[in-house]
Amino acid sequence: MEVKLDVPLLTSSIGKKLLMAVTGLGLTFFLFGHLAGNLLLLKQDGGVAFNEYAAFMKSSPPIWVSEILVFAGFVMHIIQGIRLTILNAKARPVGYKRNKGSANSTFYSRFMSVTGTILLIFLIIHLWSFFFKHKLLNLEPGVDLYTAVVLAFSNVYYTLFYVVAMVVLAFHLAHGVQSAVQTLGWQINPKVARCIQNIGYALAVLVPAAFAMVPLYILFATQGIF
């Protein structure tokens, strides 16, 4: 058989999905690192450890490089996500009058673009509150990052918004992790597939829950509940 038909990898459907999967998994690994840093906020030391960590993040060139990588990962993931959503909508120009998606798939697998868009809104607000305002632009000199975080999360609405975003992240990961592994072709064996699915569900619950714990703790502590 001669290859009559072939296209460059990243223009093929599987290639487009590969980019989605690699960036998605990359971002999931980024979440681990980010979470480890955040958990320092729970240390009862008036923010010494967290501020030291923040200072290190600001001064270390390898960290700058990895931050650029994470940023590039987000940009590629978001652009490719929007492209795929548009392409996929075009693949069915006329829809069904009656369509029972719930009979054949989970709602969170069908609403990845919706959870993704909510995460994008969260991301913009979140980056503005901490990364831009305090790290890059230093708009409030004299306020250290720990104080800024405590101030932000002592606001009920800000914390509520954060927690809702984490629930959305949980649904995004519940489908995203297994989807990415499937795209990479790593779960041919049904037993492996089930195992990866369960790992995906575990990550989807544990990671967002651990993230949400920090603002909830700060809110309750500043309200004097703890």
Binding site: M1, S12, Q178, Q187
Partner: protein
């Protein structure tokens, strides 16, 4: 088991031709035996329409025993209707209630244009097959059993993949109108066996390129295809095709110069 008789209304997509505007029309049917298949119910409807001097509903069918894959239609929001592992011709009216309102639509996908009423053009599947879904050389007549040793799990996987009847339910049910389950079944069944292995790299590249050129969507792994496939084709075929494709694209042939 004695038959029950039910009265139903069916709301069917009517479209006189591929370029024509279509719309839904609702018909009432009385005394439909619950032993009838869904297609027999449509036959009764068509007799009724002919008696009234109206154009019968066009729908594809051939074997009526669940093996040819012709009878694609979307019934009450599900590909081939509410019963799992069942084609429309094998779906019986006992799955419906007396007085039920049943919506019948053609497969909806850019790559499957509607020709008339419930009939769509599934030529895209043929062209994907023609792009590489075969073994190029004559491998002779069927070899003696066990002449070519093939491990049991491999032959099982290949056999399961070969059960695909090309019905298009996977495309119809997928929110992205993706053809990955169909193509991966064809790719898998050949890539798993020695006769097909020789050309597996070229095959997967050509079939995926043709699939993309036909305008199917991009798989997002929702699993709707597997759930709606009348032959129970597994998602693991999609994983295998992804792996075959990525390794064909990213690695060199051992004999590349």
């Amino acid at each position: 088991m004695s038959a029950n008789y039910i009265n139903i209304t069916v709301e069917v997509w009517r479209q006189p031709g591929d370029k024509a505007q279509g719309r839904f029309e609702t018909y009432s049917l009385q005394n439909i035996s619950t032993h009838m298949s869904f297609l027999e119910m449509l036959d009764v409807l068509n007799e009724q329409l002919q008696k009234e001097g109206k154009e019968p509903v066009a729908f594809d069918h051939d074997c009526r025993e669940g093996i040819c894959g012709s009878c694609g239609m979307y019934i009450n929001g599900r590909a081939h209707g509410p019963q799992e592992l069942t084609t429309a011709c094998q779906l019986h009216m006992r799955t419906f209630q007396d007085g039920e309102h049943i919506v019948v639509e053609p497969w909806r996908a850019r790559a499957f244009p509607v020709l008339k009423d419930l009939v769509v053009d599934r030529g895209a599947f043929d062209r994907i097959q023609q792009a590489g879904g075969f073994v190029s050389i004559d491998t002779g007549s069927a070899p003696d059993a066990n002449e070519i040793p093939i491990p049991k799990p491999i032959s099982d996987y290949a056999f399961e993949a070969a059960a695909c009847i090309g019905c298009g339910a996977c495309v119809a049910a997928c929110k992205n109108a993706s053809a990955m389950l169909f193509v991966s079944a064809k790719v898998s069944h050949l890539a798993l066996l020695p006769q097909g292995q020789v050309e597996k790299r070229e095959r997967v590249k050509a079939m995926v390129a043709q699939m993309d050129a036909e305008g199917f969507g991009n798989c997002s792994n929702t699993g709707a295809c597997e759930a709606e496939c009348p032959k129970g084709i597994s998602l693991s075929n999609i994983a295998r095709m992804n792996r075959e494709y990525l390794s064909a694209k990213l690695s060199q042939k051992q004999y590349d110069k």
